[in-house]
Amino acid sequence: MGAADIIRTIVQEFPLALYGSILVGIVCAFLGVYIVARRVVFLGAVLTQVSVMGLALTFLPFFPVPHTVGSLGITLVTVVIISRLLTGKKIPRDGVLGVVFITSIASRILILQKAQRVEVAEIENLLRGDILFVTPELFVLMVVAFVVAMVLHLLFFKEFTYTSFDPETAQTQGFNAAGWDLAFYLIAAVVIAFATHMVGDLFVFGFLVVPPVTAMLLTRNVKAIFILSVVIGALAPIAGLFLAFVIDVPASPAIVAVATVVMGGAWLWSVIPSRRPR
């Protein structure tokens, strides 16, 4: 099968996987700039695991809600609780996140043990990142989450950047830094919940980190970092899906691998003295 045939197959047979992964790539790469800049990368990992745990919970007979609702609900509740705990001084931030992270994974394993065999396979598919069978309903939800997240962030770009950069001073000028913080994490939670359900935790966490870091290696202009990160977030899934078809590997790891290779190239480019971003 030639390259043109592979592209045609992807576009015709798996359009939702293609467009869905591009959407997720863009929005995660955009939010990821804040996540990396706020030094809360671990939070991205935690929320993807919480989202998966919420999803797994819906497979239990006593939690009869749609998968997406369960995943979203658990992630939003966790964000609200975490945002309260992170401002306290008794437990270090990493400690709070570590507890939530490990609790989510342990819960997921226990739930898998209690779920019926066929459902276990379904959950494992989700965790492995089988994005080729995205449902239209989930795709529509992701489009809505994408539009809402991007519109809110573009409208309130000043407020989100100021409260990320220097929350203490922003607060003295009348910005409710804690409120903007919570708004940021709630938006991230909605995106992560839907995206994790759609493309898997590996893809989501990978794109919250790898494109922003790549962009930071390539440029020293804040707006350019956001734009480059989004461009990488949009293009890497296309190349990754193509690669997955060519060498017959799972799509999500292939997409993340492509993004990581691009990051490696960016790092090499950045260490060449004459090419170092100024």
Partner: protein, 256 residues
């Protein structure tokens, strides 16, 4: 004219933990006021109460303009508290000081860009304005943060340890700049520092904060050897040399 800042028998702390008890003092509009004391004495707690992010456990803290309108704060935080991950230029950092004026959703306009350029020129940072903030020296960062505070057209400029970790030349340059800003615009300035010398030679009045002690008044009255020896529980001498106040600790053996 009523004072800009009034603490009346205010007890400050976090939860059940009292940091400072029964503080009473006032800062007049246009005054250059110093807040000094060792690290951990409660200076930041007082600043938080002034900025409105900490309510007094008892008593009252009133911060209002003589016309009753809310005070516009120009806050200059400690440089270490500002995040350096994203490469914002100095100009972009100063523009953040305009965000409140600009309002929600709207983008910076020509007037905002002009105000930012004016603030940058005021602190002598024109040549460095388009450099990444994270690449600037300590003194340049401090100037940028002062420019950001000025960009919001403040009633009260609050500087939290502005000379911390700076070499002597940068320290003097920053303190001279602040004094100049105070003189030019009759700006009310609150200078917070653990360095007695820095504050003693620049402010009109000051408050010394140390554990249970809170001593406030004109520099000459508060900064006496007797007072400081009692506050710091060690021998302290205060000498005036060529019009400058010099604090000598350790029983006058020359160590400062």
């Amino acid at each position: 004219m009523p004072p800009l800042i009034t603490f009346t028998n205010a007890t400050l702390g976090y939860g059940n933990h009292v940091i400072l008890r029964g503080i009473t003092f006032a800062v007049e509009a246009g005054e250059y006021f110093g807040l000094v004391g060792p690290n951990g004495a409660g200076k930041t707690t007082i600043v938080r109460a002034i900025l409105g992010s900490l309510r007094p456990l008892s008593g009252s803290v009133k911060v209002a303009r003589p016309d009753g309108l809310p005070v516009r704060f120009g806050y200059v935080p400690q440089r270490d508290t500002v995040d350096y991950v994203l490469p914002y230029t100095a100009r972009e950092v100063v523009m953040m000081g305009r965000y409140r004026h600009i309002g929600l959703i709207r983008r910076p306009g020509a007037a905002d860009r002009e105000a930012v350029s004016r603030s940058i020129a005021h602190v002598g940072m024109e040549a460095m304005a388009d450099r990444p903030f994270k690449d600037l020296s300590g003194g340049q960062k401090q100037r940028t943060l002062i420019a950001r505070a000025l960009a919001c057209d403040p009633d009260l400029l609050v500087l939290d340890e502005p000379t911390n970790g700076m070499d002597l030349a940068s320290r003097i340059a920053i303190l001279d700049l602040v004094r100049e800003l105070h003189r030019e615009g009759s700006l009310t300035v609150l200078l917070v520092s653990h360095l007695l010398d820095d504050v003693a030679n620049h402010v009109h009045r000051l408050a010394v904060v140390e554990r249970e002690v809170f001593s406030v008044g004109p520099v000459d009255e508060v900064l006496t050897g007797e007072n400081l020896s009692a506050i710091y529980n060690m021998p302290v001498e205060v000498q005036r040399v060529h019009g400058r106040t010099i604090i000598i600790t350790g029983g006058g053996n020359g160590s400062r």
